[in-house]
Symmetry: C2
Subunit: 143 residues, 2 copies
DNA sequence: CTAGGTGCTAGACCGCGGTCTAGGTCAACG
DNA sequence: CGTTGACCTAGACCGCGGTCTAGCACCTAG
């Protein structure tokens, strides 16, 4: 109907998902708002569907499992009355994200440390030991 | 030998990995430095092994695939001479981490926005529309 | 009319990262 | 002595999230 309606291929292009994945997502109930079909049974996505999918992509990228997205979609599909539950779900995910952020930056510290020490090591011309000086003196048995 | 040597169970406890996973990691070559065995074939982990494993856990948590960790472990096992390659690998992973950080904080923005609007919505007593005002006027055909 | 492109469904297949089982060895305890 | 508990190996199994195939239906261009 609307001139902004899109075919599955077009949606795939602009969401970065494959058409296979789009169909999978639909089967798994990730889409709030049923996908319409044209006369010959082909999917017709509205601009809003695409926006929703873009959000799904972000949710996925931040580690939300498909089942959770599906749950959220269901809540939205059911319409108003369950806002509290949606909010809870979102807060929970936010917690999850901040946890990941903490872990990631922790790991970033580790890697930065290693990178720095290797850069030093290489600049100094292969002097000290490589990784952690590797206190494994197993060859020490000799004498 | 050393008084800080540990059994697989103890290592599991302090790394948070299961004994199954520890054995898996070993099979997949994630461990720099071969694991020793005691008289009856049981694994004996040194304090250094445990440290290494702790790093592995962080690498995993930051999305490094097992094969990559294995590669790194191999380099370390081979001893000095390949520092440049290790450095490259670490830099690459750092890039990966910062990418993830960006994505995550992007998604965090999204979620924060949603949470805020739902909080508002609920505080105001169920007025406006829930998610994105959902411009899907499909019930509009009536009249 | 035919060929190419895009879409449809149902269902098989895949890689990853674990997790668990069967069947056995070993050491310590009561 | 028998039992318990921690460990061993080899290999099966699992959930997740995709990805791909077969076989078919359309539509449009040449």
């Amino acid at each position: 109907m609307s001139d902004r309606d899109l075919s599955i291929g077009q949606v795939a292009q602009r969401t970065g998902l494959s058409v296979h994945t789009l169909r999978l997502y639909e089967r798994k109930g990730l889409l709030a708002g049923e996908v319409r079909r044209d006369g010959s049974g082909r999917r017709v996505y509205s601009a809003w569907d695409v926006e929703w999918l873009a959000n799904c992509v972000k949710f996925r990228a931040s580690g939300m499992p498909l089942t959770t997205i599906s749950r959220l979609a269901q809540l939205v599909r059911e319409g108003s009355g369950n806002e509290a539950e949606r909010l809870e779900l979102l807060r929970e995910h936010r917690r999850h994200i901040t946890e990941q952020l903490a872990q990631l930056s922790d790991c970033l510290d580790l890697v930065n440390g290693k990178v720095a020490s290797y850069e030093e090591h290489l600049a100094a011309g292969a002097t000290g030991d490589p990784w952690e000086p590797q206190p494994r003196p197993e060859a020490q048995a000799k004498r």
